[in-house]
Symmetry: C2
DNA sequence: GAGTGGTCTAGACCACAAT
DNA sequence: TTGTGGTCTAGACCACTCG
């Protein structure tokens, strides 16, 4: 981390977490921070912009930036790896590939993965556990150009995502997700020990590399009551605000 | 829109949408764009950074920026207003308040809205329609400081969100959302004409003003098969990439 | 009116990618 | 090696908030 604006951002995050600047308090002015860190105002801005994007700060032109939260807002990255999410939350994730099959792509998969009609893809049926409990059934489909790397992984690989990154250097760039509710089918019911028709959370997604090539799509179904997808977001723009907004009660910096 | 970097961003978005720069093609270098628009390089960067955040561009140090998609990725703002979402998609939303009641806040609501224990809050039970079809039951709770503005709105107000913005100048700043699957209870079953236990999508959220004061929380439940929440996201960082990534096939700018 | 953040400039140097 | 994006500077002016 040789980049100054990252160091400054990290430093500010730490101070906010440590309640040096508690929620409701103001950050020092840009000019003052610039002097303190011995950098130009622009560099401080780069750091502060990052914290804003994380939902940590409220900033309005003309007013001092105020702290909103102590903890950084969780971001959507968790939608991209169950194993990573589990690790972050101190839980242990497991995974077992039940079936592995190469077939021609369906029309839907052709569109999602941007492969030629009928081109061979790799289907994976996988049961996942959290702290030893079966919790989720995955129906994953990999594009042919990553299929061999996936097929070579052990059946009980905990994170296919990381395995694929290590084996083939393929990493997540963008994801497109759809979340619905759906009744359990026979397969899920028997694998997870629930009744048919039970309300399951269905999470479908397509993930692409940073340069826009989709390589995996999946249909994940969670056991009822076990999973809640959470999202923090910030309003995209200052939108339709009218009049003057009341301020949060000020708190002096510690 | 007097700000140059916004104008430039908008111009680029338009050109990408019009396939002047189709997916896979490269954007001109920063210096060239700066000259073309008659601004400094920094201003161009501000514009381009916005497009990156929208998932429209792939950028890597040293390489030209490449276009990833034609359409701007939809963002999470839709999670904040059903009416707005419907309007954007050319559907007609309706809403009818079935019950409106002031009571003391429960423990859960106290925490979500950050009000004193037992402080009065406004409960709203509301049935929503899409193109005339009942689709969703909302259980909304408003903090007392916005309750009067909400209670004064007509029972068939289509957008309480916009109504609240107009009446009280209260607008969305941040949202925290949780999405689950849950079986239909008697109330939803009868209102939506479905069977008890049917798999419903449950969307709970707390919304705060830009300065961090929560003012509304809700528990929305969607009729089975009617709603899918979609999310586009980009990887937060250049994470654990190994080796050189293969490039997307180049396409000449039109 | 003083202070603060938002925008913009004109230049510089470096790190990385492509050739 | 050359071109490109990433970082940084030192200064300027404007728009907005707040006392």
């Amino acid at each position: 981390m040789v980049v100054q604006h990252r160091q400054i951002a990290e430093d500010l995050r730490r101070q906010i977490a440590a309640s040096v600047y508690p929620p409701g308090s103001c950050l020092p002015p840009e000019t003052e921070m610039a002097a303190r860190y011995g950098v130009s105002r622009g560099t401080v801005r780069q750091a502060v912009v990052a914290l804003q994007a994380e939902g940590l700060l409220d900033t309005r032109q003309g007013a001092r930036r105020t702290v909103l939260r102590t903890a950084p807002a969780q971001n959507l990255a968790r939608l991209q790896s169950f194993a990573q999410w589990a690790a972050e939350n101190g839980r242990s994730a497991g995974g077992l590939i039940l079936r592995l099959r190469r077939t021609g792509a369906t029309a839907e998969q052709t569109a999602a993965l941007q492969v030629a009609a009928g081109e061979e893809v790799l289907h994976v049926l996988r049961l996942r556990t959290l702290d030893g409990e079966p919790i989720l059934v995955e129906r994953i489909v990999y594009a042919s150009w990553v299929a061999d790397a996936v097929a070579g992984l052990p059946r009980d690989t905990v994170s296919l995502t990381e395995g694929l990154a290590e084996e083939a250097g393929v990493t997540h760039g963008h994801g497109r997700h759809a979340i619905e509710a759906i009744g359990a089918r026979v397969l899920e019911a028997s694998l997870l020990g629930i009744r048919r028709g039970s309300p399951m959370l269905r999470h479908r997604y397509v993930i692409s590399t940073a340069d826009g090539r989709p390589f995996v799509t999946s249909d994940d179904r969670y056991k009822p009551g076990t999973m809640s997808i959470t999202v923090d977001n910030a309003a995209p723009a200052r939108s339709i605000a009218r009049g003057t907004r009341p301020r949060a009660k000020p708190v002096p910096p510690a």
